[in-house]
């Protein structure tokens, strides 16, 4: 993929966001508040935000894509088609990808944010512009990955450039290591409460030994939900784990990419430290991810549905977490457990390693890969008065169906435990494997 050359010169006191924006704007250094024009290395959009919004304007302006080899289109919102309108949107998207020779087109293979790393398209240092608010997901790979609306994306795919304001950075330092049945999702639900969701025009940078000890899929949760904090990006500097993941997925990288680190004396607006060893499973109550508290404060609320889905919550490791709880168990009478893996590759991997059998034996219903009910578009929507616990990232009023539905957010462990109990439930009480877990 796009080449990310070594930083030319090391300036003291630079955050990772500053270094990445200096590179993208071709400057030696940048300061928070500077407005910079950046070169985009990779532009990504999906069936809802991309071609169907761009095409009429491209036609009217007589414009074409600046560099089709750097454009990624993923059909994930309206998949699979459920009616004439969604079928037409998908048809238009396919035709556009063909007409414009889009370099990377993935039709019904999974959610765009899961697809980018799975296809080896990310590399530390690059600037990724995505037509979706969860684009910060890719920041787990040390990319400057930010979300944009369709008009901004139209400008980007025509010119290869956009502008941004260099953000102040909030550093989140993670220490310690997770206790059993606590995960990155719990960190983010805690952070939504502690930092609030009003951090627009700021960068979130995660680091510390707690991050170093996490898998890439768990790091992606931190970066993904930087969006919920209101951040422009959720950055994690690359390490060996990052490079190994890129290589394992056929991507290009080299040791040079490890140079993209924040300076030890970087100037942060704020530094918050969380000791993972002290963290309990968290849950967010309707209608905001910031309305969160430890699961022990909410246990017992009856549920109708448990949903394992979305870019943030249906990766292979998320399914593994759910299976750990559900192994040999059965979901409660009257509760439906829906599983929409983040990509068809995840479904295949979960089938191959036995995870899928565990989920299905427990009573789960397998859904197609896509944004699905998380975006209010696919199967699994809720009726008025129904309660759902979900591994997704947002529980805004009306997002997952009826505006009078109630959605709680939790980790895959917590969602699986709640499906068994029929009510919001602490995964530490349900763990089939807890006996052996000290």
């Amino acid at each position: 993929m796009a080449e990310a050359t070594k930083p030319q010169k090391v300036f003291s006191g630079q955050t990772l966001a500053q270094k990445l924006l200096a590179r993208a704007s071709g400057r030696d250094d940048v300061a928070p508040g500077d407005i910079v024009i950046v070169n985009v290395d990779l532009a990504m959009a999906h069936d809802s935000s991309g071609p169907r919004r761009w095409k009429p304007h491209l036609d009217a302006l007589g414009a074409t894509l600046w560099d089709p080899s750097r454009v990624v289109i993923v059909s994930d919102h309206y998949v699979p088609a459920v009616d004439g309108e969604s079928a037409a949107i998908l048809k238009l998207t396919r035709a556009f990808a063909k007409e414009q020779n889009v370099g990377h087109f993935f039709d019904m293979e999974g959610i765009c944010h899961a697809i980018l790393p799975q296809k080896g398209l990310l590399r530390p240092g690059i600037f990724v512009a995505g037509g979706d608010s969860h684009t910060p997901h890719a920041g787990a790979f040390g990319c400057y990955a930010a979300g944009f609306g369709a008009t901004d994306m139209l400008g980007i795919v025509v010119t290869g450039k956009t502008w941004t304001i260099v953000p102040e950075t909030i550093r989140v330092e993670l220490t310690g290591s997770f206790k059993h049945h606590v995960s990155a999702k719990d960190v983010m639900l805690l952070l939504c409460r502690e930092l609030g969701m009003d951090n627009a025009f700021k960068a979130i940078e995660y680091g510390g030994p707690g991050v170093a000890g996490m898998s890439m899929e768990e790091r992606m949760v931190l970066s993904n939900m930087a969006a919920e904090l209101g951040g422009e990006v959720g950055l994690i500097a690359a390490d060996r784990v990052t490079l190994d993941h890129i290589r394992a997925h056929g991507g290009e990288t080299s040791e040079v990419d490890l140079a993209w680190q924040p300076d030890p004396d970087a100037n942060y607006e704020r530094i918050v430290t969380i000791n993972l060893s002290d963290l309990e499973p968290q849950i967010a109550a309707p209608h905001s991810p910031a309305n969160s508290f430890p699961i022990s404060h909410a246990a017992g609320v009856p549920i109708d549905q448990a949903y394992i889905g979305a870019c943030v919550g249906a990766k292979l490791e998320d399914l593994h977490m759910a299976a750990q709880i559900l192994k040999g168990q059965r979901i409660a009478q009257g509760v439906r457990l829906l599983v929409a893996p983040a990509s068809s590759q995840v479904t295949a991997d979960a089938a191959a390693d036995g995870t899928l059998s565990i989920l299905l034996a427990a009573g789960a219903t397998l859904l197609p890969s896509g944004c699905g009910a998380c975006a209010g578009m696919g199967a699994g929507l809720l009726a008025a008065g129904e309660t759902c616990i979900s591994t997704t990232n947002r529980n805004f009023k009306g997002r997952m169906g009826h505006s009078e539905a109630l959605v709680y957010l939790g980790s895959p462990y917590t969602v699986a435990a709640s499906a068994i109990a029929g009510c919001l439930s602490d995964p530490r009480l349900h763990a089939a494997d807890l006996a052996g877990a000290a």
Binding site: S86, S133, M197, F396, R399
Partner: protein
């Protein structure tokens, strides 16, 4: 009057008005015009019917959080909303709003405006006159060249207008 001021009534909302309230996900296949009729209905069922062209949406912090969907800003503009006034905006919404011709004004003391107040708003001067209360509030000015794009109806309309001017020249 500077010629850039607009007059309208205030429709007041709280903090964290998200994009699912502005443009519900399950209705995103509707036409933009039909979708706009559902704007904010989950918290203000009569909003789309009662808002008049030129009226203002006044809100608390972090207006427009959530999705990148432009329909959130488009719906407000199609209902004729003259601008959104709030102490802070979600980043993507803010960019979308200006790109789509909807003025978004940072105003620290938006909380002093009450439902139904008559406002005279000048985005270029950064001045909000509350005619009902006889108060003046400051907001962050939007530079005139950026307001030219906003007034044209957004970035694409602005590009088309400029292209038409070039063709005539």
């Amino acid at each position: 009057m500077t010629g850039t001021a607009q007059i309208g009534r205030a429709f007041v909302f709280g903090d964290n008005i998200d994009t699912d309230l502005l443009a519900p996900g399950h209705l995103m296949k509707l036409s933009a015009e039909d979708l706009a009729q559902h704007c904010l209905e989950a918290i203000a069922p009569d909003f789309a019917k009662s808002v008049q062209p030129g009226d203002f949406v006044v809100a608390g912090k972090n207006f427009g959080l959530g999705s990148s969907r432009e329909q959130a800003a488009v719906s407000l503009r199609l209902l004729g909303v003259g601008g959104v006034i709030a102490p802070s905006f979600a980043r993507i919404f803010y960019r979308n709003a200006l790109n789509l011709g909807l003025p978004a004004l940072f105003c620290e003391r938006a909380d002093k405006i009450v439902q139904g107040d008559l406002l005279m708003v000048d985005p270029v001067l950064g001045k909000i006159t509350n005619k009902t209360r006889g108060e003046t509030l400051v907001c962050k000015p939007i530079p005139d060249h950026l307001m030219a794009m906003v007034r044209a109806g957004g970035l694409i309309a602005h590009l088309k207008t400029n292209a038409a001017h070039r063709d005539r020249a």
